[in-house]
Point group: C2
Chain length 458, copies 2
């Protein structure tokens, strides 16, 4: 206890009072992310850093005490990457939210706690666009996006977070701060360390500032919604579309998801459809509408029962919103075990039908929503916490979905990260050699293992 | 000598005769890349591997003997990244050239010795496109492109090599081979090791296969050529263009370069112009031509003396070719010291005028050609090997150009890599902390330092 007391005293001495939370009920707000990891511990303290220097102080004190540091942004993570570790420090970046836009270099410089939506809005004020758009963009932090290499809906055409990260300031495990990259569009001087830190889930360092590439504002979009009587027809349409074009959005919802979203929105979605696709094209002028006509042809040929196209921006956005609220909508039906499996595109149909089999065999509802154009699906396993037997079956299904993805040549996580919830499956996916290569890099950068232990490497 | 003889015997035992070159004159073809590093050594042997297994054999034998391995693709590198090291093994991948296209996953799987142009052609046969296009695309290897994270002309809109690398097989310093990533468009399971190996210049491992993302074929392009009476007008036009759009090509040539290219092509370029821009747009239908009209307006407002636009594909391609042959064209005027400095876009004018000052002060011709839309320039210092005093001045200018770029917030290399020629400047650019971070990753992956010693880290 003396040891813990010494550490708390060191934190209180080094940090202003508003940067330190040690009251247990107040700390509860920082113990979990959206994965609600049942194994999250009670931390010794929460540091709500206001600057790179305070992050350095917290990490140095943690290093001296040999206790873990769990970085977190907005706490919207879906894989338990920021579950608190018992006796450690939760290092929250939620107060570091400044954003600066430089229209001349077409870059944004943001602190990690800034929300994705805030970065988008700041860019838009200059006629610019930060494309990556996780469904949670209104409440997820840019630091968390970088830490997980977050994806989203427009990524099928515009790429994922790493494609937009030009540089960062990162505090290393020894408390030193380094600046990697910067507002240079091309830079190959030295190893691609910026890219290494993107997606490292807080295990190699704590990002305290990022420089992001912006592009000109997106053109007006035309939207198509297509309903399918069978899963296989919908996945066949996805392949037909990607075979000849790059839409700006290509999303999938299965029947369970459609029903949950319709419960929320009452917008008249077809509850009887086995699956629905939402497709957007953003070519200039009439070309978007022309491409959407072609998408409708492909969907019809694949067996769509209905296609509805609109160039009205509000109407189109309403369908995008319907897709984005899928996870919270399904969450109303029970506690979710969230998956994020992805496969090479031609295996999408096998993945979706295999998940349906698992759902039937384990007798648990699994709603599937997907960034279909990337082969990246989010099977949402719905559990009833009051039914322990069903929860046990859901846990089995959770692993079986990842096993299925691996068998189909896919990944256990396309955009949410490994965190703690998928950690037990990582070695199965990567194999022992690549797992060891991950650990070698981790040991080189964090030899004492204080940064986010338990996440990613196990 | 016994030690060397033992190593040669081990190589001869492990490899088929066609994979081993030990005859000194024959080895000469593998001692230099296009940087013609004067310090290139005489290797013990050249291994022309035909498979991942042969690469593993060569690396294991080198590791056991404690001798260096210098990987090389087509030998078209511009920074001495594949200069042979005395007594080491040159590991040439020039015989490993297979390419497979999978239209279903829209990926190419290529061996490292395949030329960039061959990958492009194989993709085009399926109506697909591999965008990255170094000017040397007809004679540079895809493995070298990945090792240096090569750029090119279309990168201003379509990104650089790393944006297209989905996976790879890489042989590590201990001779083990691992597969990273694969034909999955999104994958965040574990560290971004694929991205770490891209741009690592053969210092972390030897890439023996890459999986590349392909996109649908590019739309027809409209091309604008604009001549400017002053450097500052041309760089102002660049900023004006990038402020409102993303052209598919935005290239710059100064007067020295225009003259050298005109000597080669006799296509009627304006030798009196201080600078020329070549711009291409590729929006669908009439939108490319419409955007090019806007580019012409911007150029005229910035002071262009002449603008010529064409939607004729052959005519447009002729101007792109003129730009691509700039380096060989200038090379006819003397031996080149090739620079690759890049700056944040608003500093492009300062960089170009500063280079002009260095040229005047050191009394050496410096031709400047640039991927202007990325802020990435190639000052070509023209030297006369028969004039040692001028060569000494050129060496000073070579360093001064990099010092200038660093002062302007720029990088010493945007797309060619550090290699050996720019190694002495890397620490000045990165600073001691980031340099040490590079070395920590290097030591973790190649503790004995056998992979491409002398390159990058010093």
């Amino acid at each position: 206890m003396t040891h813990a007391a010494d550490t708390l005293e060191a934190l209180a001495t080094a940090l202003p009072p508003e940067s330190l939370v040690t009251d247990p009920p107040a700390m509860d707000a920082y113990r979990w992310d959206r994965a609600r990891d049942p194994n999250a511990g009670v931390p010794l303290a929460v540091v709500r850093a206001s600057s790179t220097a305070e992050v350095q102080q917290a990490i140095r004190i943690a290093g001296a005490a040999g206790i873990p540091v769990v970085p977190r942004g907005a706490g919207s993570g879906l894989s338990g990457g920021s579950s608190a570790v018992a006796g450690g420090i939760v290092l929250s970046l939620d107060r570091m939210r400044s954003i600066e836009i430089d229209p001349a270099t077409r870059t944004a410089t943001a602190e990690p706690g800034a929300l994705n939506a805030e970065v988008k809005a700041a860019a838009a004020a200059h006629g610019l666009w930060y494309p990556p758009d996780p469904s949670s963009f209104e409440f997820c932090s840019i630091g968390g996006n970088v830490a997980t290499n977050a994806g989203g809906l427009c990524c099928v055409k515009y790429g994922v977070t790493t494609d937009y990260v030009l540089g960062m300031t990162v505090v290393l495990a020894d408390g030193s701060a380094v600046t990697l990259g910067g507002p240079r569009l091309k830079d190959v001087a030295g190893l691609s360390l910026t890219k290494l830190f993107v997606g490292s889930e807080g295990t190699l360092g704590v990002i305290t500032e990022v420089t992001l590439r912006l592009i000109p504002a997106q053109e007006a979009r035309t939207t198509l919604v297509a309903a399918f009587p069978a899963l296989a027809s919908a996945t066949a349409a996805v392949l037909g579309i990607t075979a000849e074009m790059r839409p700006a959005m290509l999303e999938f919802m299965d029947q369970e998801t459609i029903g949950a979203v319709e419960d929320e929105t009452r917008m008249g979605l077809d509850r009887d459809a086995a699956a629905m696709l939402v497709v957007q094209c953003d070519e200039p002028g009439e070309h978007a509408a022309r491409l959407i006509e072609r998408v409708a042809e492909i969907c019809t040929a694949a067996g769509a029962s209905e296609c509805f196209a609109t160039s009205d921006p509000e109407e189109g956005e309403a369908f995008a919103v319907a897709r984005r609220i899928a996870i919270p909508a399904v969450e109303r039906r029970g506690t979710l075990l969230l998956e994020d499996v992805g496969v090479p595109l031609p295996r999408l149909g096998d993945l979706v039908s295999g998940i349906s089999d698992i759902s039937a065999r384990r007798d648990v509802p699994i709603a599937v929503v997907a960034h279909a154009g990337d082969g990246n699906t989010h099977p949402l396993i719905v559990t009833d916490p009051g039914d322990p037997a069903q929860c046990a079956r859901a846990d089995l299904a959770f692993g079986e979905v990842m096993d299925l993805a691996i068998r189909l040549g896919g990944t256990i996580t396309g955009e949410h990260g490994v965190g703690r919830m998928k950690q037990p499956w990582l070695a199965d996916y990567l194999g022992p050699d690549v797992m060891e290569l991950n650990r070698r890099v981790k040991r080189a950068l964090d030899p004492a293992g204080i940064l986010n232990p338990g996440a990613v490497y196990g």
